[in-house]
Symmetry: C2
Subunit: 506 residues, 2 copies
């Protein structure tokens, strides 16, 4: 039955069990696996690897993916100690613990850059690629499933290719993907994407069939995403941003179709996108990396005309209704390699409005996307740097406080910088919006404190700036022994609130 999915008959003999396919992978290898934002990851072979390691075989690999994996794969591989080195992104609590303990070396990379390193031989060589597919075409082309990620380059560069054909993925997904891989430098041509809708490549990953070493048949589904529904605060964030964009339209800088939208993964960005459903903007387009529930809701309510991404990651509610009805969306949808969805060249050319989530932001406009208290890795920078640096408008959203008010998301100085002040145009919390464009740092601090900081932290942070300005001065006034005073208080007292306030609240 699965043979209808392998249109090149010479490949039928390559169908093996996951265990047999996994035998192609040995200790010390560099392995590239499909998977981006818990979508379209190879599901069977990695489990077989974990089983071997758990059975006592020394088996550690460098694992490169598109982005995060679903089906607890990063957990399973970390627990089995198969993952020794990991790049370019992850979002698993167990793996995160191993990374922060220094047991797994995690190389946190811009999502557009990993394959540049592989292609130029600065990373690798890649021993094995494992790519989930809907089907294999007659000429050996691999049709990806719900994500493209780095799969195309993995398959083109790896010494051996393992294909996992997932029979739960409908064959009607064929035609969804657009596989374009930039030519090698120094002879690279411009990437011909000039519009969200541009189709510039093939609907499959071109691979010489002789390089496909094994094929595995699987029937495990993608994990579904847990997306928090919009709440009072995320709705306020959406409203502030929509109000701002409204004003940009009034000033003639944008039309009512705005500019292609990018939204980072997670509940806040998803809620912001939902907000566009109730706005008077129309004929919107997306040029993003992950397409979440909100993308399809915007399609369904007629606000969105076209969406380009590298993966589709849906909640349990949406999963079946979208994937079973993919034909309904296919003419308005495109999945690209993450190198193209996140390419600085294309992002700058199209002039995106990029909306990403800050872990913390500081009063001068620097953003921390990755490190809790400057040391502990959360997930990784992902594509936020690709987008924020090159967008027409770079927006960061966050609730002003976390952990019931014990943490202020806006601080005097972020403990780790992923996005420097030069790359952040707009900061939005439920308190309000700070438009930092063309402001000097001293001016930025005023606007961020007035508009974004939670009232319970506003005075203390304003006092910090006033004292730093008076005693130290400079373009960006900071007192180096006090810059992290809120973080130190959190570490010592369990809250960034002053002791009196904390006690009063208890």
């Amino acid at each position: 039955m699965y043979r209808s999915r392998i249109k090149n008959e010479t490949l039928w003999s390559k169908v093996v069990s996951p265990q047999q396919a996994a035998m192609l992978i040995r200790d010390g290898m560099v392995v590239g696996m499909s998977g981006f934002t818990r979508a379209g990851e190879a599901k069977a072979v990695p489990m077989a690897l974990a089983d071997r390691a758990l059975a006592g075989e020394p088996l550690g690999i460098t694992l490169i993916t598109g982005a995060s994996l679903g089906n607890d794969l990063d957990k399973t591989l970390a627990e089995a100690k198969v993952t020794r080195r990991r790049m370019p992104f992850q979002a698993d609590p167990t793996l995160r613990k191993e990374i922060n303990a220094g047991n797994v070396m995690f190389v946190d990379q811009h999502l557009s850059e990993t394959v540049e390193l592989l292609r130029s031989g600065q990373l690798g060589p890649l021993d094995v690629a494992i790519v989930e597919a809907v089907a294999i075409t007659e000429n050996g082309g691999i049709i990806p499933t719900t994500s493209v990620g780095n799969s195309a380059t993995f398959a083109m560069l790896a010494e051996k290719v393992i294909v996992e054909i997932n029979i739960t993925m409908g064959e009607e997904m064929e035609g969804l993907h657009d596989i374009y891989i930039p030519t090698r430098r120094p002879y690279r041509e411009p990437i011909p994407v000039v519009d969200t809708r541009s189709r510039v490549g093939l609907p499959y990953i071109p691979v010489d069939p002789s390089r496909i070493a094994a094929i595995v048949i699987t029937d495990k589904k993608d994990s579904t995403a847990k997306i928090e529904p919009p709440d009072h605060e995320t709705k306020a964030i959406a409203n502030h941003l929509i109000g701002f964009l409204d004003n940009e339209v009034k000033r003639g800088r944008l039309g009512l179709n705005l500019a292609p939208l990018q939204a980072g993964i997670g509940s806040i960005a998803n809620a912001v996108l939902h907000g566009f459903g109730d706005s008077h903007f129309h004929d919107l387009t997306m040029y993003s990396e992950v397409l979440q529930d909100s993308t399809f809701d915007l399609f369904d309510c007629g606000k969105l005309t076209y969406a380009s991404g590298s993966s589709i990651t849906l909640s349990a509610d949406k999963h079946e209704s979208v994937l079973r009805n993919i034909n309904k969306y296919k003419s308005r949808l495109i999945l690209r390699p993450q190198e193209i969805s996140n390419h600085p060249e294309v992002i700058r050319r199209l002039g995106l409005i990029a909306i990403n989530t800050a872990l913390e932001a500081d009063i001068y406009g620097n953003v921390n996307s990755t490190h809790v208290m400057g040391s502990q890795m959360m997930n990784g920078i992902g594509g936020s740097g690709d987008f924020a640096r090159n967008a027409y408008l770079s927006v960061f959203v966050t609730k002003s406080v976390a952990k019931g008010g014990r943490i202020s998301s806006i601080v005097p100085m972020v403990t780790h910088v992923d996005h420097c002040e030069h790359d952040v145009d707009i900061i939005v919390t439920e308190q309000g919006l700070a438009d930092l464009r063309n402001l000097a740092p001293r001016e930025r601090a005023k606007v961020v404190i007035a508009n974004c900081v939670h009232p319970s932290y506003r005075d203390e942070i304003a006092d910090y700036v006033a004292e730093a300005t008076r005693t130290v001065g400079g373009q960006t006034p900071h007192m180096l022994d006090k810059a992290f005073f809120l973080h130190q208080r959190l570490r010592d007292q369990g809250s960034m609130q002053p002791v009196a306030a904390t006690q009063a609240a208890e």
Copy 2:
């Protein structure tokens, strides 16, 4: 006599004195002036502005340029309090003092981005452009002098254009420039530059002659640059980098012509480029922003085949010999708008080796290019972010210590981040070279401490990391109350050295 420089006769009547031309500029205006790395700035009209302000007229402007200005213009305009807001870069001690005192609002921008903001109406409108020129063509085209910078976009967007024809600049400069301006989003086409040599635009800035409101004739030369000759340490830095690149060639990642080189302004980068003159690399090319003495020395010794930049900034020694003999170099030389010389799209496509100077770097690979002690602005980020983020190989160079050893250029945590760990591949000091590619932060720290830190700081910084790893752990171990301990010591004791060591040295 100057009339031969104005080939459109209808414009002869526009020739006025600098004072008359300056009357087009009024209090509160936004003014765009030519000038990039002290080359090709408008020289006469700004002085007339300063005179008016010094005579008591209220006259403050927002001053936008390409980059830094020569002829003490930023000093003169700051002293006269003409400069109220300034972007995107400066390098003048007097202006710097006003910025750090909070008297001038300085908006520090990526050099490729300023005109995107202007073009999209997020900055401006631009009231007046003042552009230095060699000549004006019959159709009103402005032929720039030693820099292109942002002049083309200024002239195309400003309500009124003032041209300063500098008769000390030889007419043989015609043909040196390549003016290509990206089309407006959302209909932007790929930028057709696919090679250092690509000529894709016009040899002049196209302007409707009716928009030229005044023409001024000047005879003031560009300031010359003070470039420190290579010393023992900058030679060591060059040798470490050349040894590294040699190894990349041996490993087949690069050919002996390497990849197009970019080098930041300043003595260290200049010395590193000089180092290539003694290497066995050949047929080198440059795709850079400023072309300094070293570019022409590399031409003269036959190592360099082509150079593309946005300006030519030379020492007193080189100035005459290059500009008087520009025909000798013209077929191998091109000056582009800074938006193109620094464009992420082109930099990523060409696969540059980018060599920039760090003010300080930290053990995890973050780089501070702008802020002394986290607060005081030096010059600005300039083009370093455009290049470091998008280069094939991003190199930062610095001497390991400054101020006679009292400052370590490598610190546990930089006090300001311009280039995050994701954008820094290689750090080089005279001590050695740290190859940070594909390393996790804990691994980076080991290599940077072993290879780059000055021996007099090595143990203390290693102790910091060991303690942070033991007590805090994480992906990037940091103790927030000690991360700036070297800076605090410098502030309190005048040196980052421990007291005992400082006394012993005295």
